[in-house]
Symmetry: C2
Subunit: 251 residues, 2 copies
């Protein structure tokens, strides 16, 4: 993990990094200990923030959420660019997918099958990347080796986050939503940690029944579905606040 | 409205009443003004608490909720016994329904059709009773004539509350849930106020699709569905707290 910059503002320190070519950001409360040996390593909760499709690690909503993690709860937060997103190179496949999705959306046709096919490949790459990031961040004194890890990611964030949570027992709570497809069911059935699932009742990109089926698939003893009217991009602010409280309760 | 008793404990004054033979309870913050003429009538939010089937106006969960309305939010709260419940006489029909339901539950058969038939008659009686209670309570100085009115009621509380909210524009926000049947759809389509709807994912009494269909039917611009694992009687405490905050936000 190679840190490339550090800035502090409004009580939050933002440290950008790269890890094996993956660009990322770590946010910490400004008063967190520096990354230097210490006799009492922190056991700071870490929240992984997965961005949506077409977005990136510094999307405004994500950065605001990271800031609240640090200042309200004293948590560390981290984001990385998903393959083909943000600062990462876009392959011919990424470009083709973007064009296809644009055409489907423009003509009001369902995008789920294309999204599922494209994101399967992307997820296979993204899950080990996130795991390497968890490894590296927990080596920092400001995070510590054995704190709880939460995941917050909707839409593409959920498509990557569900297999990640299924694969990595360090993740102890997750906020998912705005997604649902048969291709996620197998991984979902292995997610046993508390889950808060956000569903938009009039989501034009995700069929309601597929989202409900994904919620249904989690065997978690504690899972909670919050559904509200509106489209894919119209999640109410109060649900974002509630989901952060959910993570705070569980980390 | 005839008050029959008044007790104050833990910051809450509980006043029992009867109105046209219907027994009820009003809860107020202990420091609320007495029911005497005043130059500045209160405009205190009023929360109507509908009890579940087989329950009554002094069910422990309901009384606890009334106490929190008064002490946390400074609201008035009121409950009445539904027809055939609590202190009210039970008709031969009430007795027959109780026996039938018991038999259906014991043999694991669906109860929705019986419940719908029975509660249709009960609701026809209960809605004007609640409306008369609102009229009478708003004549009290401690409540005032034009404050907002919220409704909180699950299961039978929803079966009565949905037609009540459809009929009475004084109700400005409602918590419903643990119910769903075609017979409620017509009234639900006339409920336009903010609704929080609680659904138990493994409800053994209410089919999931019927509960989802009832949520779907509300045209409210602001409505929010919260679903959690567990049966009809296993609503998590945190959802009760969240639903009270929802009402507090809207009243």
């Amino acid at each position: 993990m190679h840190f490339t910059s550090e800035t502090t503002a409004d009580g939050v320190t933002e440290r950008r990094f790269t890890l094996d070519g993956v660009p990322g950001v770590l946010w910490l409360p400004a008063d967190a200990p520096a990354d230097a040996p210490s006799d009492a390593p922190a056991r700071r909760p870490l929240v992984l923030l997965g961005h949506g499709g077409g977005q990136h690690k510094l999307a405004p909503g994500l950065v605001a959420r990271a800031g609240r993690c640090a200042t309200r709860y004293g948590f560390a937060a981290a984001a990385i660019d998903a393959p083909g997103h943000g600062e990462r190179p876009r392959t011919a496949q990424d470009e083709r997918f973007g064009t296809e999705i644009g055409e489907l959306l423009a003509t009001g046709r369902p995008i789920s099958p294309q999204v599922a096919r494209y994101t399967a490949a992307l997820t296979e790459q993204a899950v080990p990347e996130w795991q390497a990031v968890i490894d590296a961040l927990r080596r920092l004194d400001a995070v510590g080796p054995d704190g709880p890890v939460g995941f917050w990611g909707l839409s593409l964030g959920t498509v990557i986050g569900v297999p990640l949570a299924a694969a990595d027992p360090r993740i102890t709570a997750a906020v998912f939503g705005l997604a649902g497809h048969d291709s996620l069911a197998e991984a979902a059935r292995r997610v046993t940690v508390p889950v808060e699932f956000l569903l938009q009742w009039d989501d034009e990109l995700v069929p309601r029944q597929e989202a409900l089926a994904l919620f249904d698939a989690f065997p978690s003893g504690e899972k909670t579905l919050h559904a509200n009217p509106g489209g894919h991009l119209e999640l109410p602010d109060f649900e974002v606040t509630a989901s952060e409280l959910f993570l705070a309760r569980h980390l």
